[in-house]
């Protein structure tokens, strides 16, 4: 393409003005919610099948999207297929609403589907998320769409998808158990940071996408529908509401969530949320904060060089870090924001029930301890 093919020059001084100048001619010819109706119908049909067979990987066509596969194309297709004009949409990237990818996905949905967007978990109807489940309890009128890079939990132990499909068909998960056994041999406990293998409804072994272990208990018997969509691998699977989701573990080596001994969020002071380590010395807080949880190592390694200086709750600004430049902050930025103004805000503040079981900090035992 030569320079003369372009009708007029696009201003390149700012992204917004560039998009502004293109907004009229770009979207005119597009169908509602970007995808054509056949595609959306196919995706919805796959979602329905996935709901009917919890944990089973259902293939779908996975169209090309205006960004590279592996950047959330599966999640976008699932979201755009279920969004309607009345819906409110939230996108989380590794706990944060502010990442470039999350902002762009939100913008795509706004432009093409005309939906409202929000960063407040409790306001959203559809939440597309990458590698986290929100701290606030997700309710029965909300749908979570999780982006999935690797669909099959068994790929860790066998790279052959054909062999793994046969294993799923026959519920033959011996190899995964050996993997866990060897993990305990090596580490003394099961040390899988993310993508923790879970049994869905006692039948299919599922890769819950790279959420930290912290979030795995939230899948169990939840009120919300979880849709897992992989664009690159063209598979959709789901955990319907009130489905048993059990992380694999031994009777005498139980499943454990990440531990943050003596750590509190540097911004809001929470001690009962999933924290990520931020290193102010090398990078800005925003970018590390959103990346910290990728392998969960930020959190689980946390206690090693805890120099006991964290008793100071003089957090407030966040810019003045500890002496070594490391801080711990909430990974879920939207909830952290709310906690800043209301430090005691419970995760189920928006519900009128008080028996909600939503992962660490909300179980019956935890509640007994901290009831006000």
């Amino acid at each position: 393409m030569t320079e003369t093919d372009r009708p007029e020059t696009t201003p390149t001084d700012a992204v917004d003005s560039a998009l502004e100048s293109l907004s009229d001619d770009g979207l005119e010819g597009y169908n509602y919610a970007y995808l054509d109706e056949h595609t959306k119908r196919e995706v919805r049909r796959s979602i329905l099948k996935a709901i009917a067979v919890p944990g089973h990987q259902v293939p779908y066509a996975s169209r090309p999207m205006p960004l590279a596969r592996g950047w959330g194309t599966g999640g976008i297709q699932a979201s755009l297929s279920i969004l309607g004009p009345e819906d409110t949409f939230k996108v989380i990237d590794q706990g944060a609403d502010e990442s470039v990818n999350a902002a762009n996905i939100r913008r795509l949905a706004t432009e093409t589907a005309g939906v409202e967007t929000t960063t407040d978990t409790t306001d959203a109807d559809v939440i597309q998320t990458r590698h986290r489940i929100p701290e606030e309890v997700v309710t029965d009128d909300q749908i979570l769409v999780l982006q999935v890079p690797i669909t099959d939990a068994l790929r860790t132990v066998d790279s052959s998808d054909a062999a793994n499909r046969r294993r799923h068909a026959h519920k033959n998960y011996g190899k995964m158990w050996v993997h866990l056994y060897e993990n305990v041999v090596e580490w003394g406990e099961i040390n899988i940071a993310a993508r923790y293998p879970t049994m869905v409804a006692g039948r299919y072994l599922m890769d819950p996408s790279p959420i930290p272990r912290w979030d795995v208990p939230k899948l169990d018997d939840a009120d919300a529908l979880f849709v897992f969509a992989a664009g690159r691998e063209a598979r959709i699977y789901a955990v319907p509401p009130h489905t048993a989701v059990e992380p694999l573990a031994f009777e005498d080596r139980s499943f454990q969530v990440e531990r943050f001994p003596d750590q509190a969020c540097d911004v809001c002071g929470s001690t009962d949320t999933y924290l990520t380590e931020v290193d102010d010395a090398s990078e800005s807080a925003g970018s590390t904060g959103s990346r910290g949880g990728i392998d969960g190592s930020g959190g689980s390694r946390g206690g090693i060089d805890d120099d006991g200086g964290s008793d100071a709750a003089e957090t407030e600004t966040g810019s003045d870090a500890g002496d070594d430049g490391r801080r711990y902050v909430c990974n879920d930025t939207s909830f952290c924001h709310k906690r800043r103004s209301n430090p005691d805000l419970p995760r189920d503040h928006h519900l009128d029930r008080d028996d909600v079981d939503w992962g660490p900090g909300t179980t019956a035992a935890d509640r007994g301890g901290e009831s006000t």
Binding site: H170, V178, Y181, E186, E251
Partner: protein, 282 residues
């Protein structure tokens, strides 16, 4: 009452034709059908093993021993169609199961293979996951059978290692770092993990030096007697079969040419081929 019985077992690689059986075998001097080119790995084999008994199968390379062993151990994963276009016919009866074992579905086959009939493969790579630890390979059998208590699994693996004389200290090393003899023992430990009724050993000592062979065989013979497990030992080595087996089948070109008590076969071989075999070894 025999524990495991095979009747008219036949395994053919290739399309097969009407003259396959008639034009192969000992009398024809080949196992490849001259009409269609299919290989008749074994045909019309009848055998039985009683509880606690050891049956030996000897024969030269290519006589169908391993094909027969894999058939008996239900090793083919895809049931009837088999791998690389093979076809299995005949009947296997097992005391712990109603009906023909060759016709069971995948799950039953998997359960039988996991608990009742184990196979010690000729090639280590077929039987073990070399990247897993030795202990992990043995534990896989237990975990597949539903063991969910880590310490119990550990304890069982440790005792199996002791029983098969593998250094317990090497339990958590990757299996590819083990010596050939140890890998063979890990396979035996794995095969014994769920207290099977029958163990099929396919060439348990090939590729091992003589002193290690002797120790592996001693170990297996001791464990076999202690546990009272029945065994089918396939070997080209008459010495192995003489040491282990109560009764022996001699195979050639896919057919059983002679069978009887091991002593009788060794001292008084009837078939011409058996006579040659024994003369050439002893």
């Amino acid at each position: 009452m025999s524990l495991l019985e095979g009747a008219d077992l036949t395994k053919i690689y290739g399309d097969g034709c009407e003259s396959c059986r008639a034009r192969t075998g000992d009398s024809a001097g080949t196992n490849q059908c001259p009409v269609c080119g299919s290989v008749v790995a074994c045909a019309d084999v009848n055998l039985s093993v009683a509880e606690g008994e050891v049956l030996g199968i000897v024969g030269e390379s290519g006589s169908g021993k391993s094909s027969l062993a894999e058939t008996l151990a239900l090793a083919a994963d895809d049931g009837g169609e088999g791998e690389s276009g093979s076809r299995i016919e005949g009947e296997i009866r097992y005391a712990g199961h109603e009906g023909n074992l060759l016709e069971v579905d995948y799950e039953t086959r998997h359960r039988l293979r996991n608990g009742d009939i184990s196979l010690v493969h000729q090639h280590v790579r077929d039987g073990l996951e070399l990247d897993f630890s030795g202990g992990g390979n043995v534990a896989e059998k237990l975990l597949s059978a539903g063991w969910r208590n880590y310490e119990a699994v550990r304890e069982r693996v440790r005792s199996l290692f002791e029983e098969t004389e593998i250094p317990v200290g090497r339990m958590d090393d990757p299996t590819h770092t083990y010596s050939g003899g140890m890998q063979r023992r890990v396979q035996i430990a794995r095969a014994l993990a769920n207290d099977p009724a029958v163990v099929v050993l396919d060439e348990p000592t090939t590729g091992l030096d003589v002193s290690v062979q002797a120790r592996v065989l001693d170990t297996f013979r001791r464990v076999q007697r202690e546990e009272g497990v029945a065994a089918i030992v396939v070997s080209h080595d008459l010495g192995v079969v003489r040491l282990l087996a109560d009764r022996t089948l001699v195979m050639r070109h896919g057919r059983v040419v002679e069978s009887g008590l091991t002593d009788r076969i060794m001292e008084d071989p009837h078939h011409e081929y058996t006579q040659t075999l024994i003369n050439s070894v002893i």
